[in-house]
């Protein structure tokens, strides 16, 4: 095979970070998002009268399962041996909103931020799915990292 052109598309090509040389450390990430809705959906949520059933237990399972599949969803993520995924829900009545907080922990060569972000997001999408027959205009907002620790870059906290 002669005269091969130089690598195509090298500029801009998608690259997984090579973590071969990194050491495994204990890592944690916390992410959150907020689901905002109107009165009908929020009352049904408070009354536990949503026709599709218990929103929080379903969304929690969806979020935990999604965290375990991040490497299939986000193309450049590495597969990680998760030690823990947890999801909490808080009601914010004056905003007719639910805050979702996801925590992920691993012992690995790379960080666990995407697992926390994805867990919170898929939990929020599940909340949306269960309420959408009541109100289509529900909005998921403020998906963001709250905290991370471990690895070379150390601890990071969202500014208050």
């Amino acid at each position: 095979m002669v005269k091969v052109l130089s690598h195509l598309d090298d500029q801009g090509k998608a690259r997984m970070v090579d973590v071969s040389g990194k050491v495994q450390t204990s890592r944690e990430a916390i992410a959150s998002c907020v689901v905002k809705m109107g009165e009908d959906a929020f009352s049904a949520l408070l009354d536990k009268s949503v026709p599709k059933g218990d929103v929080f237990s379903t969304a929690r399972i969806a979020g935990i399962l999604a965290a375990k599949r991040v490497d299939e969803l986000v193309p450049l993520c590495h597969p990680l041996p998760l030690n823990f995924v947890g999801i909490d829900f808080d009601l914010i009545p004056e905003e007719r909103a639910v805050k979702i907080t996801a925590t992920a922990r691993t012992t690995a060569k790379t960080g666990v931020e995407m697992e926390a972000m994805t867990a919170a997001t898929v939990a929020a999408l599940t909340v949306y799915d269960m309420l959408k027959a009541l109100e289509k205009g529900i909005v998921i907002t403020n998906i963001q990292l709250e905290y991370k620790s471990g690895g070379k870059s150390g601890t990071w906290k969202k500014e208050a």
Copy 2:
């Protein structure tokens, strides 16, 4: 087997909607979200100098693939034979933001809203993943349905 108690947990139990009696119709849904960032990440995006590579082509593929797996991610969703998934990116320079719009189409017994919502969201998570080495404080916001058509409930449009 004698004296079985009445069904447990009937109140609040998660329920897939039974679509057996529904007819297949042509359906469409459009959803959008916005990824907001600081100057460093936004400049790298504009310059196409993001170290992990081309953000938009990677995020587009991630969003399309995610739409095809919604029934695995969102527990009460039905599997749908998708006819089309498309993802568009628009820059909003004055907000240092990217707007992501996802369109999904099917011919099915139930709506395709979750496919559009999930495609937009996973595309946004991929944008976040590719930029997070530059800036951890990036926020994904305003995930919402823009439009849906088809099915018994007909056409719905987000209020302007």
Copy 3:
């Protein structure tokens, strides 16, 4: 390419049934199984004091999700557009047991028995997983089809 041997391994080779010529009909299947346990696990279940959390809502979601992935788990199954999956739990106190009943419905060229069987089974495995710290000797038993309807072979019911 000359002198190819006759097809290898034709006897005994795994075969998907070719359903190309079949018509789509409305189909239903119901399957059940029983999870038997000792006093400690059964009390925790009754008291809702299982450390891993609410057993039934978690197992229900697991069963519903598993029904949607049967074609990935059971090699010769066809992918089916499920119309409905539902899972019910009944306590049988005198046997310290939980009966799990799964119902699956589709409109398809082939039957939905494996979806009901798999949904009941994965729900039972999830019950086992959540209780195994309390008691390792829990047994899942009597996984069986209760009922099926639709298709050329029509309605079938387990003998009483």
Copy 4:
């Protein structure tokens, strides 16, 4: 964001066990189940004349693959780096039954019981699928853990 209510649904919420603090050890688990059938199905199995093809080689592959996906099927399971999965079949002619035994091994922070249980179960579901055209009343029974070793709780054996 002011006045957030205390965490919702804390009682009963599904929880992955946090294994961050555990050490990796060598672990093994063995599980078994039994598939009981009538004369027609059992004869076809003995004669290797099942129309869908070789039951045992298909079921073995199904069981091995299922063990590798336990963390996707059973919501609170951790992803594990499996070292080995093996599946054996034994005929019990006087009961017209097949006994399936699955062995799973890992080097991990948590046990491999669910991998063995799931491998045996999905192998059994595959046996059922391949025989159900011959006999719908086949029953899968006695899914149980036989043995486990490794980890803080050490070795456990089913009582004879």
Copy 5:
């Protein structure tokens, strides 16, 4: 939201073909490939003495399962309700080769070529995996479409 730039990256952006307006028709595709090896691997294959076990039954199951997941693997493929997938192996002794032929059938709005191509390919990768301890230099070659029928473009046959 003002002054949005025109869609980014429109030239060259990945696009699923929109099949909304197409009609469902009966479709078939046949694809093949060849696995070429040295004497040691080929003898073990002929003698059925491969240490990892029966190559053809394992590769057949792998190919059938892969056909059902093409829409997850090949980003722009549509999910299809497969009616049939079959895989055949032929030995070509004078070339120390195995020819793998995969057939896929569906009733759908789009063609089933990628399902046949992927089934043949993943079966070949499985053959490679099972023989690679005997010989690392095995080559998979001539992956190609042999035949397709159905749909607007009608029947196509590879030139002899």
Copy 6:
């Protein structure tokens, strides 16, 4: 339970290699393949005028994602914590061909050859999918291992 027959099907049964006793080492594998096409498809590729969009960025993502799912596709493969997957494309104008080279790295008890082979192959299938509307006779050829290092068997290089 009395008189169990000796294990069925022991000869030829599919076996995962038990890697419990192996040590984790740093491993790398490189695999390649070639996609050969006619003038129309090759011109469209050179001109970046393929209707389905940018072939290389889509195929690269497909290949990276496939490498992360090898243990689901190839039945006897072990799940591996991948450190890196990279895919490069080279044009070979005089053969109207594209050469695809995939590199995979891990720190694990077993080799990463199948991840490199599968990444190259699924990237090639994606190239085929994006070009098949232009030319159905495209052929994927010479899928082979180029290099591997690490583990007990050490370094191996394809003969020139």
